[in-house]
């Protein structure tokens, strides 16, 4: 009981860097202390690698040559684009919605009343984790696919120009999707709704664009994440879409806009 008694006379104002580190460590401890986060990530990695192997094997065993869009680096990401992106996006959504649904968000906001800092901390930790996981997975998928395709002389090598950049971009795509999903979780607060919104933003809009009549199909579609991702992951960019460089900006603009919206919403709204 006596331990309660002591009152700290601490009046030293910690530096901004120290406070930024506080927030980062806070979010990191929260991320690593929930076991299902690891399980989900592991299952996602296994599903992605499995799906990638099936796709590569199918293409390797097809007698007819695949269309140019499905050659080279792109093939490596056909499994990744769903089995990697969906679980990681759901995990990212949960970073906010699990706190809102349990009420833990109030503890978080009491600990860090500057809510921009909470958003930035979560974005850094979740985005960083997604980037690392994405790069690791992207290279695994690439090497696995090329190993299976090389027997049919349809593979590409990492030493070919444009290939390393395309593989690296694979990790970035996962990070962009995760940050977009994280922001939607902060805005919507409810898990199911936020997952639906995240999937709609990441995949749904592109699907919607595909049913538009011809001139608008790609005019609008090229601003969606899947088309932009295709352009940065392929060695054969489509001429009616945006250039790989601009597509990269599109991929960055989605999470940037989502984070900005989330920041405005959580700072002005009462805590859930």
């Amino acid at each position: 009981m006596t331990a309660v008694a002591s009152r700290t006379g601490q009046r030293v104002v910690p530096s901004l860097a120290a406070r930024a580190r506080d927030v980062l460590v806070f979010e990191w401890v929260k991320l690593r202390s929930v076991r299902s986060n690891y399980v989900t990530l592991l299952l996602a990695a296994m599903a992605t690698i499995g799906a990638t192997a099936v796709v590569a094997q199918t293409i390797a065993s097809t007698r007819a040559a695949p269309p140019a869009a499905l050659t080279g680096v792109t093939v490596s990401f056909l499994g990744y684009a769903e089995y990697g992106v969906i679980p990681v996006s759901v995990l990212a959504v949960l970073q906010f919605t699990s706190e809102y649904t349990t009420g833990l968000i109030r503890t978080t906001f009491c600990a860090v009343p500057r809510r921009w800092a909470v958003l930035a901390g979560k974005a850094a930790i979740t985005g960083g984790a997604a980037l690392v996981a994405g790069e690791v997975l992207a290279f695994i998928c690439f090497f696995l696919t090329q190993a299976l395709l090389s027997g049919r002389h349809r593979g590409v090598s990492l030493t070919q120009p444009g290939v390393p950049g395309a593989v690296l971009a694979g990790g970035f795509v996962l990070c962009a999707c995760a940050l977009t999903a994280l922001s939607l979780g902060a805005i919507i607060r409810h898990t199911a709704g936020a997952i639906a919104a995240a999937l709609a933003a990441i995949y749904g809009l592109a699907v919607l664009c595909m049913v538009l009549p011809e001139p608008w199909r790609y005019d609008t579609g090229r601003f969606t994440m899947p088309f932009a991702a295709f352009q940065v992951l392929t060695m054969h960019p489509q001429p009616d879409l945006l250039s790989p460089a601009v597509s990269m900006l599109v991929l960055a603009a989605w999470p940037a806009a989502a984070l900005l919206a989330a920041g405005l919403v959580i700072t002005t709204r009462d805590a859930g």
Binding site: M1, A3, V4, A5, S6, R7, T8, Q10, V13, P14, A18, R19, D22, V23, V25, F26, V29, K30, S33, V34, R35, S36, S98, E99, T102, G103, L104, R106, T107, T108, F109, C110, A111, V112, P113, R114, T268, D270, A271
Partner: protein
Amino acid sequence: MIELNGLTKRFGRVTAVDDLSFTVRPGRVTGFLGPNGAGKTTTMRLILGLDVPTSGTALVGGRRYRQLIRPLRQVGSLLDATAVHGARTAYDHLLSVAVSNGIRRSRVPEVLELAGLDSVAAHRIRGFSLGMKHRLGIAAALLGEPPVLMFDEPVNGLDADGVRWVRQLLRQLAANGHTVLVSSHLMGEMALTADHLIVIGRGKLIADVPTQSLTRSSGRADVLVRSPRASELAELLTARGAAVTPEPNGGLAVTGMHAPAIADLAAAHGIAVHELVPRQPSLEQAYLDLTAESTEYRATSTAAGAEAGS
């Protein structure tokens, strides 16, 4: 020290907190009382910067909560003990809270021991009883050794052991000079714990008084008298100016005459008295009287008087 100045919060057309001004001082336990829905939790959320006030200010140590740097070292709070992530262990939960405010990690086992949770530190919170979650929440509030502590209904749903623990802890914190604000809708609990009471109803301040003066001011002291010749005695008492109210169980509630005078009167007339009990007004009754007033939106002379006196 917590200072509220004209604090007001409206949700649409509902005014949850209505022009609330009071000061919570260090060195004593301040009970924050009011019926369910009176606005206690909303007031605490406003103090913690979780909600934005419509008007007015709430200051902790002279500053708004949102301006505090490493706030958990200045204010420890527990609003809702169940607001935790069940998949985390007690240790990890407290560790995350500690690191968020640059609190040394060795403080985590200290508060776990203090809360009596050291044996379940590595268990996931999901399996905790409500009482254990309360202890965990209080442990989290104490992590930063803050001078100001605020608990929302900390004994709700606790067993006798837990209630005693919380009560002792609150008293100890106050004795050590902390500012302690504890909300409750149970007057009886506050009577045992709080030195000072702030009573609100429908978001408005009803009373801001020392706990003792609340009983005194209600002035409903009476004497319970039981006699085999009750009706005869009642007539004699009434004849001498006392007010007599028959109680359902056969006793007489007498006001306006003290117990010795009643005994003398009965003896003088040879009337046997089986029971003679002077009764202090209960805090519970005083509280009910006060909050009943609030439903009528009556002005509060109690509050004004107390402020002038303090």
